[in-house]
Symmetry: C2
Subunit: 221 residues, 2 copies
């Protein structure tokens, strides 16, 4: 029970998108129940009923009403539990944050998936594309502590969970993110030390094992 | 000059994404300058400097500061000029509006483009996919006047400009949207009569001529 009613998260342990919701709820100090979905064995009726269009996690049920899509869930959490704020209050800074949110949502996870879903020349192209995207993010970060400046917030929450998959991309693609984007890598280390982040993120080694299994199933190896 | 400084829109006449910004500015009664970009002959230095990552219109320059990505621009306009509101003030209703915004942004224009970019069996698949998307939107609309209920707002603004391209999809794909989604078609007619919409939307016949030319250039015909 929270001061604003019941919050239930339909979750999947490896999903960086579910981790976004968890970090946001931890940041706000919201008590919530987390229910693991069996995405491969059979999704729950509650998931299918709550998200009939995409049938995907995360779903946040707040007092029984479903909120869908992780970026939207973070925005909702920020509106319902305003303290501490995650999205900047200045419309211009909020617009900048949303621009990078959109950039991350359109590019990072899909570009990373192209690395583990491919081999040979195709994988080389995927790696090059992925690193270019990280370089654009590194440029946006600049010398700031977090994406919005000194304060941890929206863009950090959207990006940091995906970095739990970087070990998988590195091992399968034989490269090191740190060699290509040192400032962004320093941001990853710094941000992963934050308590709300540390307890929300999946173990990178377990993500790697999960994806190695997936590659075998898909016949990629 | 507006009461909150200067607004300049970098525009392209046929772009449904630019029309979203124009409708929003008209709804708010904001005076703005509209500058047509030559997307094929050469983009302006101002566009390239304002949006170095995507190099796309629309760009809204408000007091010289660039706001990028059309959905983000509409959100920004709603925050800076609050009356009349476009995004619902209730966090749950705002989350629902953002869910459909995201659905529209990911699906409608790209699915429509697949119709005019293809031929034969591939075009049949594209048409089927496009109509399924419209049916999902029709279900979301239900018997309401606008997507959020009685009041014109965010989701209407994001979707209505893309319908200026429907004549093109219909002529090239040999089908009628009205036969498949009667309620959504009634919403289109109703919404296009709104003054702020009527003056922002491109002429569907001109869009069709533009795309016929594009198909010839791409060797599709």
């Amino acid at each position: 029970m929270t001061s604003k009613g019941e919050a239930l998260l339909l979750d999947f342990w490896a999903s960086p998108f579910c981790a976004r919701a968890k970090i946001s709820l931890y940041e706000k100090g919201v008590n919530f129940e987390c229910r693991e979905e069996d995405l491969f064995g059979g999704k729950s009726d509650l998931l299918l009923r709550s998200n009939p269009i995409h049938q995907k996690v995360p779903v946040l049920l707040h007092n029984g009403k479903p909120i869908l899509e992780s970026t939207n869930i973070v925005t909702y959490i920020d509106a319902v539990w305003p303290s501490p704020p995650l999205i900047p209050s200045s419309p211009y800074e909020a617009a900048q944050a949303r621009f990078w949110a959109d950039f991350i949502d359109k590019k990072v996870f899909d570009a990373g998936s192209q690395i583990w879903r491919s081999q040979g020349d195709e994988q080389e192209v995927a790696k090059k594309n992925f690193i270019e995207i990280l370089q654009q993010l590194e440029e946006a970060l600049g010398n700031k502590k977090f994406f919005a400046g000194d304060v941890f917030g929206f863009v950090d929450i959207l990006l940091i969970p995906i970095t739990s998959w970087f070990l998988t991309y590195e091992k399968i693609g034989s490269f090191k993110v740190e060699d290509r984007v040192p400032k962004l890598s320093a941001w990853i280390k710094r941000t992963k030390q934050r308590e709300t982040v540390a307890k929300a993120l999946p173990d990178p080694e377990k993500v790697y094992e999960f994806i190695v299994g997936m590659r075998k199933q898909l016949g990629i190896e």
